[in-house]
C-alpha cells in the first residue's frame, strides 16, 4: 500500500493578497478557514496565529510512503498492528490514502 502525506504547511505571507489566495486555493488554507469558523473565530485566525509562516515549508513535510505486508514472525511480533499509536506534531496532517480506506 502506498500513501502520501503532507503536514504543517507554511510559507512567508507578506501581503493580504497572499493570505487570501492561500485561504481560497490551497487545501490547507480552506481547512484552516473551516476550522476557524468551527471555533467561531475570524476566517484568517488560524492562518494568522497558528500556521508557521517560514518560507518555504517551515516545519512541514511531504512524504512518499510505501507499506509492505507484515507476514509471519513480523506480523506476530507486532500483533498485526501496522502503525502503533502516535501523535503528529503540527496543526494539520493530510493522509491521502484514497481509495484505500485506512488512516495510515
Amino acid at each position: 500500500m502506498l500513501s502520501a502525506r503532507y503536514a504543517g504547511a507554511a510559507f512567508q505571507a507578506d501581503t493580504l493578497l497572499i493570505s487570501e489566495q492561500y485561504l481560497t486555493n490551497s487545501v490547507n488554507g480552506r481547512l484552516l478557514k473551516l476550522l476557524s469558523r468551527v471555533l467561531e473565530l475570524p476566517d484568517d485566525y488560524l492562518f494568522d496565529n497558528v500556521q508557521s509562516h517560514d518560507w518555504p515549508v517551515g516545519d512541514g513535510y511531504f512524504r512518499h510512503a510505501l507499506f509492505y505486508p507484515l507476514l509471519g514472525e513480523d506480523k506476530e511480533r507486532r500483533k498485526g498492528v501496522r502503525m502503533y499509536g502516535h501523535t503528529d506534531y503540527g496543526t494539520t496532517t493530510f493522509l491521502f490514502s484514497v481509495p484505500v480506506t485506512a488512516g495510515e
Partner: protein, 175 residues
C-alpha cells in the same frame, strides 16, 4: 471559488508506470463510520449551506476525531499521479542514494530515506514501512538531497505541495 489545480506537463520526462490501487478488502470489519466533509461547500454563497458544513465539521471533530474530506480541489487522477511518482521513487532509488540520504530521526527531523527497519537511523526490527520524506532542505537543494530518480519530477511534487498548502504558487524554487 477555488482556482482549479493544473499540474505541470509530463513532456520529455521518463515514463512512470501507473500505480494500480489495491482492491478494497473483502473482510468483514468493524468500520468506523466517519462524517463526510465536502470542502467545496465552503464556497457556497448560501450561508445556510456553509453553516451546515461548519456544524457537520464540529460534529466530526467531537464524534470521530478524523475529518474525511472530499472535493478538496485535487482530482483522483492528479492524486494518483503522486502515488505513481511515489511508487517510481521507491522502485528506482539506488542503493547509493539509500545510504547517502538515510534519515536521522533522532536529530528531530524525519527528512530523507527511511528503511523498513524501524524509526531510527540504525537498523532495528522489520516494520515494512519505507519512506522518502521531503522537508525544507529537500526542496531548497533538490540537486543534492533527493534521490536521482525523482529529480525530473520535482516540479510536480512542488506543484502538489503548493496546492496542499506548502506555499503560495509561484513563490517556490522550481528546482
Amino acid at each position: 471559488m477555488a482556482a482549479p489545480f493544473i499540474p505541470p506537463p509530463l513532456d520529455g520526462k521518463p515514463e512512470v508506470p501507473t500505480w494500480l490501487p489495491p482492491e478494497p478488502t473483502r473482510m468483514e470489519l468493524d468500520w468506523a463510520s466517519l462524517h463526510t466533509i465536502d470542502l467545496s461547500l465552503l464556497d457556497s454563497l448560501d450561508t445556510k449551506v456553509v453553516d451546515g458544513l461548519v456544524q457537520l465539521t464540529k460534529t466530526a471533530i467531537k464524534d470521530d476525531g478524523f475529518l474525511y474530506l472530499i472535493n478538496y480541489g485535487i482530482s483522483l487522477e492528479q492524486l494518483h499521479r503522486q502515488f505513481s511518482l511515489a511508487q517510481y521513487l521507491h522502485r528506482n532509488i539506488s542503493d547509493d542514494d539509500k545510504k547517502r540520504l538515510l534519515w536521522d530521526p533522532q536529530q528531530g527531523v524525519f527528512a530523507g530515506f527511511k528503511r523498513r527497519l524501524g524509526w531510527k537511523r540504525e537498523a532495528g526490527d522489520f516494520d515494512g514501512i519505507e519512506h522518502f520524506n521531503f522537508y525544507r532542505p529537500q526542496f531548497e537543494d533538490s540537486e543534492d538531497k533527493v534521490p536521482e530518480c525523482i529529480k525530473p519530477f520535482m516540479d510536480e511534487i512542488v506543484a502538489f505541495c503548493e496546492v496542499c498548502g506548502c506555499s503560495v504558487p509561484g513563490r517556490y524554487p522550481a528546482d
